[in-house]
Subunit: 163 residues, 2 copies
DNA sequence: CCAGAATAGTTGTAGCGTCAACTATTGGCG
DNA sequence: CGCCAATAGTTGACGCTACAACTATTCTGG
């Protein structure tokens, strides 16, 4: 990390981004773990299902929406299924595919966990920013995701095209 | 994740930040793993040592600079020591403390890994941003880190005070 | 000056993610 | 048709991180 290769502003931005990616997961996980017994990724999976029609999604689509590989999702969904929060069944239209559906129990867990989670996100991320900075973060996020996920394989569903 | 609790811009910013924290580690890790046999966190540890006087730091200080807990760092340094990249020795001034020092081998590894890593950071993070956005990211980062690491326990060393 | 609290660090364990290997189905095209 | 590539998903092993428990020093107030 030779400082001469990045100018002062670039280095400052980079150090902050690294720190955020190290610290944010812990902040999210510990609140959700304590209040709902879920990791942030597990919560996010349940939340994506809760917003889908029939509260059901194919594994591949769910993996995209949660920025994860299929292998990771498969392990997570197996554990969620063992806890009765989700159920899997073969997709009727395509025998290769698997559908994951939120159970009633899973739905009520997300519902009960959401308020405290949203409050936590507000407290640690949204509140400290001005509304102008929130908007800047959207633009910066789009620019970065275009490179971090070039084909839009994981983020195409909500990403705005670059101007 | 009830959308009604966050407005459109807030939700957009939040989804992008989540996606970045999921995707960035993989982008950094895979390049460094392939080119230097190091995880990004391991590289960062070596890089922080390479910039310190005597290429030596106390474990606690090194943990702060790398946004990590002492437990995590201890495991990582043990593995780096086994590979001959770092050496540990009891701190003379305080018998509780341990110093970690970069070996010659560790130094040459960081030196050889740095160019490709910096290029990767440029390609995926800095280049897609305007210089104005880089500056905005610094401000946004400071605002978030003030909440993510309230006491400045991990980030005080480089964080700018809020205006 | 010494008892208890705080600091510094290590270690074992359990849980999660990555990677590679694998099965099963579908789609394309010759 | 029939074969081969692509798609969809699962699984097992391995490595890394968080958490809790532990040792060992140093600091501090009575």
């Amino acid at each position: 990390m030779d400082a001469s290769w990045l100018d002062a502003d670039e280095m400052a931005a980079w150090l902050r981004l690294v720190a955020i990616t190290e610290l944010l997961p812990g902040v999210l996980d510990s609140q959700l773990r304590r209040d709902a017994g879920l990791s942030h990724y597990e919560y996010f999976v349940l939340a994506m299902l809760s917003e889908a029609p029939e509260r059901t999604l194919r594994m591949t689509s769910l993996a995209q929406r949660t920025n994860a590989t299929l292998a990771r999702l498969s392990h997570v969904v197996r554990r969620l299924e063992e806890r009765g929060l989700v159920e899997r069944y073969p997709c009727p239209e395509d025998a290769r595919a698997t559908n994951a559906r939120l159970t009633a129990e899973g739905w009520s867990l997300v519902e009960s966990a959401a308020p405290a989670h949203v409050a936590n996100v507000r407290e640690h991320v949204l509140d400290p920013l001005t509304s102008q900075q929130v908007h800047q973060l959207v633009e910066i996020g789009d620019a970065l995701l275009e490179r971090l996920d070039p084909g839009g394989r994981m983020t195409a569903l909500y990403r705005r095209e670059a101007r």
